[in-house]
Symmetry: C2
Subunit: 197 residues, 2 copies
């Protein structure tokens, strides 16, 4: 079609995606964490996140059973922990203990808030959509626990210091990245074009 | 709860989110683009993306009518264009012309593939979920057009050169970032923890 472009086929080429760790209590009451590359925000009001989980995962059954979960956002310095929690299964190991993490029950939901991640949201399941290999769960965010050191009066102000993981699932294997330099502010840098017309 | 943590309230604190530009033909047949901060991948098979759109937006009606759309991923050097396409409305302006962009009809769907963005996916609507302020649309990816210069035989290999936008909607205003340094490879850097247990 276009010179210089190639169709690589039916590939979801969205870059970057956030890395989310879904926290649940399993049927035995054990806190568990699952790393998810398919996650994001899906609504402003009520503030809601979407996470996609394969039905085979231990976390899937826990979300269905409890209808409550947490979503933690790790720092890029915690990429090894995130990676580990995406490989091991809570069916046969205590991932939090293995990764040196600890948690307490949420204030609003019956799910583990993990201490070591800079951000942890408490979520209540509102929707489930069976898309194919993954079920898409929508969770309404009821609380958002953030390390004080990244906050000012309004909320998160120091994202470069917090340094969340920007993930890219590439054909040759997935890669974690840190956030790089600022490329401008929204509802601002496009004003030149807005004024031009 | 935890010392050193504060609950900033019901805030979807997922960082970073990708920036997606949804391309549609409106009811008059005009190509239009809408910048979306709430977007991501939601399924591996079939490869599917999720985009969330307010019902008031021109793009919302076009998606409902056409049931086909494109999703472009801009480079961080195009953050001004992305920002502009999130402020202007296709109801009263030709945003592609104003931004110096051009497009052709997709190979698989009746929606505009934009030439200037490094990545443009052709999508067919498969699900719609009314979450609240936003409707969540799921699109199955049928084609993924990528600039040859970022590709090798497998697909995207040079993400740092492509440099997609990592967005953060912060309380003090949204910020665009470039991708920064690598923080490791997935299914790899967590193996030390996996072996330890």
């Amino acid at each position: 079609m276009f010179e210089g472009k190639r169709d690589v086929g039916a590939v979801a080429s969205v870059f970057p995606t956030p890395i989310a760790l879904c926290g649940t209590y399993d049927s035995a009451g054990k806190a568990n964490l699952a790393t998810l590359a398919w996650a994001g925000v899906c609504c402003s009001e009520p503030p809601s996140v979407q996470i996609s989980v394969r039905p085979s995962r231990h976390t899937h059954a826990a979300i269905i059973e409890r209808r409550e979960f947490t979503v933690s956002i790790p720092a890029s310095s915690q990429a090894d922990i995130a990676d580990y929690c995406g490989m091991a299964s809570g069916k046969n190991v205590d991932k939090l203990a293995a990764a040196g993490l600890d948690s307490i029950r949420g204030k609003f939901v019956n799910a583990p808030v993990v201490r070591q991640f800079p951000i942890c949201m408490e979520c209540r399941l509102t929707h489930r959509l069976e898309v194919g290999s993954h079920d898409l769960f929508v969770g309404e965010v009821l609380a958002s626990w953030i390390d004080e050191k990244y906050l000012d009066d309004l909320g998160v102000s120091d994202l470069l210091s917090l340094s969340p993981i920007a993930y890219a699932q590439l054909p040759g294997g997935g890669c974690y990245y840190a956030i790089g330099q600022s490329a401008g502010k929204s509802f601002s840098i496009g004003k030149t074009l807005l004024d031009k017309r």
